[in-house]
């Protein structure tokens, strides 16, 4: 069977391309009879009686004798296209082939073809009891079959068996990989891998959102959005566009060689040094605020929040607190400290824990217990009045800000300035113009009970 490139089953005008040689053998319609054998250079008509015209392909080298297109059979029921062994190398250009013919039944041919196909596939098929599991994104395959083939415990046989097992598994994985959609990227065939399906643990925890700074919080509350500044500004002095910040910036006040002494200032004061100092102070303040923001985000108690900061001015409350702290900072926690006349006794750190008497008011105890059970049983969450009030107030603040924004936006509308986005807290409708009395709020602010017309604090449920 070696050397067979293809076969033709003659049914109607079925043709078969012999891809290696570029030849096409086609059965012509019954009215004409015969076949057409075409190669890229010329086409030969084969009559139905099997005679091949004495023409030769002009490209054929000398090694091809008369039998280049030999048709010795009587019938064309089956044609085998066999490359001529003698000139297989020389005639690739014109696709010359020797056409050997014999009488074969179609069934036989089909069976042969199937066999040939199976022969081809046999090289790449592997049978497994349990199918492998693939994760092509990781180029991973899992073979759940118990490796019963490995009988040897050691030695070269084991190695050979392991290699055999590995070969089969790799073949299966490769078969899967070759089935993926491919594309050509710079002379290389590239397969598109799917996402890995096997989940593996992460290396580091999930990234957390950056905590808002104090200004960002405030801006959010008031509905202030950051304005974009252009990076280039017009510099009047040099008459050109320059960067707003950094090297060679516009209006660079550190490069001035002369500064006017402001009216009412001390004439001997160094204005340059003053400017530099002011800049340093601004930088220091910014740094301090940055650290404060970090501390706030991490919920660290700042020393200044304890009322103990060593600045020049201390308020009355701060001083009082400082005194109190100083008083209790003794070995006996301030127990034996003297008091000034009319000074109130210091309030301790907190109340001492007091227990209820063991035998006491049974009715009150019963009531309190029942109340506790009722609260625990009820599905509705208890309302925290202060929280709800705060929330409501903040909501109102935000709405106020939004309203102001829209009011300004509405006035400006005539000038053609189109605004992107809308301030937070405003619904989709009612853009522009102050909201009239018909402006209904949907639902209510979160945290307040669902009823409309309830007062901000809400009713405390007993």
């Amino acid at each position: 069977m070696r050397g067979i490139l293809g076969f033709v089953v003659l049914a109607g005008s079925l043709g078969l391309v012999v891809p290696q040689r570029g030849c096409l053998l086609t059965a012509l319609p019954k009215s004409r009879g015969g076949f057409r054998l075409s190669c890229p250079i010329n086409t030969t008509m084969l009559p139905p009686d099997g005679r091949v015209p004495g023409r030769r392909c002009p490209e054929l080298p000398l090694c091809h004798r008369k039998d280049n297109f030999l048709a010795s059979g009587r019938a064309y029921a089956g044609l085998h296209v066999v490359p001529s062994a003698a000139c297989a190398g020389g005639c690739l250009s014109c696709g010359s082939l020797r056409v050997a013919m014999g009488v074969r039944s179609a069934e036989e041919l089909l069976a042969q073809a199937e066999q040939a196909e199976a022969e081809k596939l046999r090289l790449i098929t592997v049978h497994k009891d349990l199918e492998l599991e693939f994760d092509l994104g990781n180029l991973l395959a899992t073979d759940r079959n118990p490796p019963t083939g490995l009988r040897q415990r050691s030695g070269p046989e084991l190695e050979a068996q392991l290699q055999g097992l590995a070969r089969d598994n790799v073949q299966l994985l490769i078969n899967q990989l070759w089935r993926l959609p491919t594309e050509r990227v710079e002379e290389a065939v590239v397969a598109k891998l799917p996402e890995p399906s096997l989940r593996l643990p992460r290396e580091k925890p999930l990234p957390k959102p950056r905590p808002l700074t104090r200004w960002q919080q405030f801006a959010q509350l008031k509905g202030i959005r950051p304005r974009k500044k252009t990076s280039l500004v017009w510099d009047e002095a040099s008459k050109q566009w320059r960067r707003r910040w950094g090297y060679q910036r516009a209006r660079d006040d550190t490069k001035e060689w002369l500064i006017e002494v402001p009216g009412g200032a001390d004439p001997d004061e160094d204005q340059f040094a003053k400017r530099q100092r002011a800049k340093k102070e601004r930088v220091a303040k910014n740094e301090l605020n940055r650290l404060r923001n970090i501390a706030r985000a991490h919920k660290v108690q700042l020393p200044s929040q304890g009322g103990m900061h060593p600045t020049g001015y201390q308020s009355r409350a701060e001083l009082g607190k400082a005194m109190q702290v100083a008083k209790v900072s003794t070995a006996s926690v301030g127990r034996f400290q003297e008091r000034l006349p009319k000074e109130k006794p210091p309030r301790g750190p907190g109340r001492k824990r007091r227990f209820q008497p063991n035998v006491g008011d049974f009715a009150a105890e019963k009531q309190s217990q029942l109340e506790l059970i009722r609260v625990m049983n009820s599905k509705k969450p208890r309302m925290d009045v202060t929280r709800a009030t705060n929330k409501q107030m903040r909501e109102e603040d935000r709405e106020e800000a939004a309203k102001r924004k829209t009011a300004r936006g509405g006035n400006r509308k005539g000038h053609g300035g189109k605004r992107k986005g809308r301030p937070p807290g405003l619904g989709g409708k009612g853009k522009g113009g102050p909201p009239g009395p018909g402006n209904k709020r949907k639902g209510g602010p979160p945290g307040v009970g669902g009823k409309k017309g309830q007062r901000p604090g809400g009713k405390r449920r007993k």
Binding site: T142, A166, L173, I174, K192, P201, E203, K204
Partner: protein, 309 residues
């Protein structure tokens, strides 16, 4: 959070970039591996670590000096190294009388040990001992696990996951088919794990898919499992958490059944049946008189509507 806003700010752009590279991310970096020698390491262990370094190369760090530490007793120094070299995978080799040729494979989460598994090496053939061509460094390997043992016990399951994590390298969207050059084959039989590395030889098969032949490349190890340290379930679960941005978004109104068929829900407006064209028959034709009255009715309705408006 400590990474996000440091108290001490980086002074140069380069330092900033360096720190940014190490921050937690939604799409994580490729895991790096550090290969560490213990206080006592013989030639076998040293060579094993070197070979693993060669396999993992762009994503690994080989520690050249001895480090006297025992990961199963004290993990702090490993955690320190992990933080220092930004590696979340490690392989620690040591050799002593009680546990000869000892190899500890492990991984970290948030610079703390998540899993580690101790393996004893019974037989070792180095990459250098097999004289044939090797594959270029940084090639992504194919991984194959054979044997039902990998699914039976929790230790083995975790070991499989750990080995995949260790060797898989970067996740790529595309792969050059000719670049599939070597395969790591793990076989678990009778309490032993056979680690083999083969080079792929692609042969012509007559169809598109090539026929595969293998050639041993090395390193190859016969391993047995010793001690294990596995993460608790909640820590493991935490480490497996998927960021919200990577979760597949639910598509509305599309559902699938168990057979893989897709169903869609379509919302339509109510059909106006009065304008439905039914079969035309002579008997159902409107007479001219009817048409007239109809028109009048329509007109009067229009007028009424206007009045309402």
């Amino acid at each position: 959070m400590a990474e996000l806003d440091r108290v001490v700010k980086p002074k140069t752009k380069r330092a900033k970039r360096f720190l940014e590279k190490r921050e937690p991310k939604v799409n994580e970096n490729v895991k790096n591996a550090m290969l560490i020698k213990g206080g006592n390491a013989n030639a076998t262990i040293t060579q094993v670590l070197r070979d693993m370094y060669a396999l993992k190369k762009p994503y690994s760090v080989l520690y050249k000096k001895k480090n006297i530490t025992r990961p199963f007793e004290d993990q702090t120094s490993l955690e320190f190294f992990s933080k220092k070299s930004d590696c979340s995978l490690f392989m620690f080799g040591s050799h002593n009388k009680k546990r000869p040729n000892n190899l500890i494979v492990g991984r970290m989460y948030d610079y703390h040990i998540l899993d580690m598994i101790e393996l004893g090496i019974e037989k070792f053939v180095s990459l250098k001992d097999i004289k044939n061509s090797k594959c270029p460094e940084g090639t992504k390997p194919m991984l194959i696990f054979a044997g039902d043992a990998f699914d039976i016990s929790e230790d083995y399951r975790r070991l499989k996951s750990l080995l995949i994590d260790f060797f898989r390298g970067p996740t790529v969207p595309n792969i050059r088919l000719a670049g599939l050059e070597y395969v790591l084959h793990f076989t678990a039989v009778d309490g032993k794990i056979y680690f083999r590395t083969y080079k792929l030889l692609l042969k012509k098969s007559g169809c598109r898919t090539p026929r595969i032949e293998l050639e041993e490349m090395g390193p190859s190890l016969d391993l047995i499992m010793r001690r294990t340290y596995l993460a608790s379930d909640d820590l493991y679960k935490l480490s497996m958490k998927l960021p919200k941005a990577l979760k597949p978004k639910k598509k509305k109104n599309i559902s699938h059944d168990t057979f893989g068929a897709t169903y869609g829900r379509i919302h339509m407006q109510k059909q106006d049946l009065s304008k439905l064209q039914t079969r035309k028959m002579k008997g159902l034709k409107k007479r001219p008189a009817e048409k007239l009255t109809n028109n009048q009715e329509n007109k009067s309705q229009k007028i009424k509507r206007r009045k309402i408006d």
